[in-house]
Each structure stands twice: as C-alpha cells, then as structure tokens.
Subunit: 250 residues, 2 copies
DNA sequence: GACAGTCGTTCTATAAAATAGAACACTACT
DNA sequence: AGTAGTGTTCTATTTTATAGAACGACTGTC
C-alpha cells in the first residue's frame, strides 16, 4: 500500500488534469482553472508554463488554449497502431459495398475508442475519436469478452447478456445487438491476432429488414477474417508505404 | 534565473518525453525507453504506470503502447478551436469549387499544424496533423508575420523574402509562393480576428497556368474574408449545433 | 482621479515526492 | 544449470513541487 501511492507521479497527473480541463473548455485563464481543479494559482501557472514550453498549450492574451499538437500526435499514434493500418481501408470498402455504417474500435483499459468510421451520416455521434464504454456498448463488450477468458463481473451491471454474447463469439466470432443504448442494431466482431490478444472490434450497422441481416453478418465475418489475416501475416503494407512516401507537389 | 528553472515541472516534462517517444515507436518496453531517454528503468516504470492509470497508455504483454485517447482529445481540442469551427466547411467548399487543394493551418508557438485539408490527392503528405515549420513554409510564415509587428529575425535564415511577404500581406492580405520546400506554389492568407490576433492561415494550392492564378487568388481572398467575418460576428454556428446533438440510430 | 476588484505572475520556506540504484522475480535461450 | 534479458519492487536521499502571500498591471466604477 505504501508503494502503490508512491509510484504514481502526482505532478504529471496534475498536468494532465489541467490539459483535460483545457480540452473541455477550449480556452481558460489561470484563475478559472485553479478554481475548477482546486489547485493554487501559482501551481497552475507552473504547469501551464511547462505545457507551453512543450508546445501543447499556447497563450492568447490572458487565456490559455490547447495547440493542435495533440491532434498530430493522436493521428500519429493511430497510424502506428496495426489495427488502423490493417483495417481502415477494408472498413471503408465494406461500408461502401453494403451502403451502411462501419466503425472500427480500439480497445483500451476503461473504454473503447472509434479510430475509424465509414458510411455514417454526417450528423452521427459516432465519429472518429468517440469513446464508448466497455460494458455498455456492444463493440466494447465484445473486446472485453474476447480479451479475457472470464466474463465481465456481475457487478458491472451491463444491459447486455454477457453469457449469450460469449456463446455467440465462441460459435460465430461475432455478436448482434444494439451498438450502444443510444444507437441501433449492429453486428460486432472482435479482432484477435495469432496470440489471441484482442486489438479491438468492428461494428457494422444493421439496416432494417431481415434479408439485410444475413448479408451484413456474412460481410462482417468476412471483414473480420480479412483483418485478422493481415495480423497473422504481418501484412507488409507495401501500398501504404508507397503512397506515404510520395511527396505531393501541387 | 533561479525562478526560471524552478517553475518548470520536470516530472511532467519527463512524462511527455516518454509519451512522445511512444508516439514515434508505436510500442516499446521499459528498458528500451529508459535507454533511449537516458532515464532509470524504475522511473520510466513509474511514469508509464501513471500514464496507464490516466488512460493514455496500455500494456500489451511486456510492451507499452499509446491508447487512442490522444486522438479523441486532439479532435475535441480542434472542435473547440474557433478556427476549425468557422473555416472547415468553407475550405471544403472552395477546394471543391476550384478543384484544388486547400489546407487550414493553426498557428502554434514553434510550428503550424494542418487542422483541416480538402481536395488533396490521397498520397499527399499534407494531411490533417502535419506540422510545418513557421519560417520554412509559406502558411507558417504568413501567420508569423501577421501575428507580430516586427518581422522574423534575420538569423532565422528563411528561404522566403520576409519583407516582400509582409508587403504583400499589407497590400492584399495574402501572399504567393511555394507552400514549403517540399511542395508547389500556393496562395496563403493569414486569418485575423477583430483584435488583430492571428489564428492561423489558409493555403490554396496553385495549379499551373496563368489564368488559374487569378481565380485562385480571388478565391483565397474571398475565403479569408468569409472566415474573418465569422470571427467578427462571433458566428453562432447554429447549424453545427443542430447536427451535433442529433443522435444517430442506424 | 482614486478605488476596489480583477487578472497573471513572482517569490520563498516548507513539506512532499520524484528519483537513482540495487535487488527481485520471471522468462527465454545456450 | 546457467546466463542474459525482461518488467517490477523497494528504500534512502535529495531534489523539487507546492501553498500561500505579495506584486504589478489592468479594468472597470463611483
């Protein structure tokens, strides 16, 4: 218990608290941040100066504001992750072919994040960067179940039938149900590599109509297979390398 | 001098160094990071644990990897910035109308970052998230010049004619030249608000041909005017609010 | 024109916490 | 078995982050 408290770097946690707060409010002054986060003005100023020195924050008049640096790093992190590299183009392809929505979600500790989206209407609240709860969304739940041998604890109180989903995953490798409490039906399939590690999931929106259901489930299973095949083969992505290096001159 | 050194939060700087390193290499272990950053293994482990607790990093086997959390925050930060909210749709519009590339760049301390791009070929190295140097790119230089009354220091050694660009900005509100050493010609216009603060710039790619030049410069000036008009009026963006709140059900 | 209420910034003594470095547990390969 | 690698734990020491008050500048109001 003594060590657990000691190994956490408090100063960094404070810096991130400030950064996250700035992310919510766009622009704020030292006093407002200090009041919101219950920190002294002097300390907030020190952390903001540090963030500014590192290029994550800039000053506009007397207010501080995030720079787009996080965006660049976030996109770079996504490009580094195999899930996005292997699956993004296939998801677009399926979305276009089925004329429905497809989301690619990456599993994280406490939630899952949409890293690619295709075929969604422009007003959708499922765009890239959206985070969904692990236990309260189908795309999250399938990653949780596929990633661990034991099913989610009963106290999680999920609205889904965990045992049923597990059975569906064991049988078919996908599950069907509402994408989240706020969204309609979808078919969700976890993406596993050869070691059995779960990298995330794909969710394909289910249009109304019973014959669409079969087309979508088949397409989802095929999509999953093609993505996992790339994981297994350590896909060399020659194509993306070829285009990535191409310097563009207008 | 004593205070300057004291107000920087070293622990946070170390955490960000680890985070940035992870961003470059996708996935790495404690020892590798410690060696690269010349830190002790124990310390790297503490910082990684903190980042993991905060949800920015996850563990895959013995390696650590960034989560997509930065992506979500980066996109949210972009949505909060007025530059993106006011200018993104107009840039797309102009790109479609002229059938050329348009980039929207946000000014930061040491560089400028592409926060929106439209009409660029798929292999372009100018996508969202790209950072360009302030003095070695036209889109950066116009923000630098427009943002400060005095011209950039001579020792910056820019390949551009700063005085000439300043004259062009004073006269027309835009400048013409190579977008960067790696790219072709463009017309770049800084975006200023009513207080004279520079928020960034737009860069419109210049296709070959002399009559295209005039069309593009006129379109750029018009684009700048329309964006700045939204800054001046504190554009209420009813439209984006209306669509943003619309929960989408498949 | 002085006043009160802001703001961001600076400063310093004190207490808290980050750190280095060695030891530990575990795995893989020889 | 042995060696070399990993991530992790631990502790004593010193660095350093912190609270809180004072400062200077600015913006209104009376």
């Amino acid at each position: 218990m003594e060590y657990e408290a000691n190994r956490r770097v408090e100063a960094s946690a404070r810096t991130f608290a400030i950064l996250e707060r700035l992310c919510e409010v766009d622009s704020a002054g030292v006093s407002a941040l200090a009041a919101d986060l219950e920190m002294s003005k002097g300390i907030v100023h020190n952390h903001l100066s540090t963030l500014r020195e590192l290029g994550y924050v800039r000053k506009l008049g007397d207010d501080y504001q995030l720079t787009p640096r996080l965006l660049g790093q976030g996109l770079r992190a996504r490009s580094n992750a195999r899930l996005h590299r292997y699956a993004a183009d296939l998801c677009s392809e399926v979305a276009a072919h089925l004329t429905t929505g497809v989301v690619l979600c990456q599993h994280a500790a406490d939630d899952c994040t949409v890293v690619d989206a295709a075929g969604l209407p422009s007003g959708a609240d499922l765009g890239v960067g959206t985070t969904l709860p692990l236990t309260e969304s189908l795309v999250g739940l399938v990653t949780l179940i596929a990633g661990s041998a034991d099913e989610p604890p009963a106290d999680a109180g999920t609205a889904y039938d965990s045992a049923g989903i597990r059975a569906n995953l064991d049988a078919d490798g996908y599950a069907t149900g509402p994408l989240s409490p706020d969204h309609g039906g979808c078919v969700a399939a976890p993406i596993l590599d050869a070691d059995g590690d779960c990298h995330g999931s794909v969710g394909v929106v289910l249009p109304a109509g019973e014959q669409a259901r079969q087309r979508v489930t088949e397409a989802t299973a095929s999509l999953r297979d093609r993505i996992e095949a790339r994981f297994d083969s350590g896909w060399a992505d020659e194509r993306s390398f070829a285009t990535e290096k191409h310097s563009w001159v207008g």
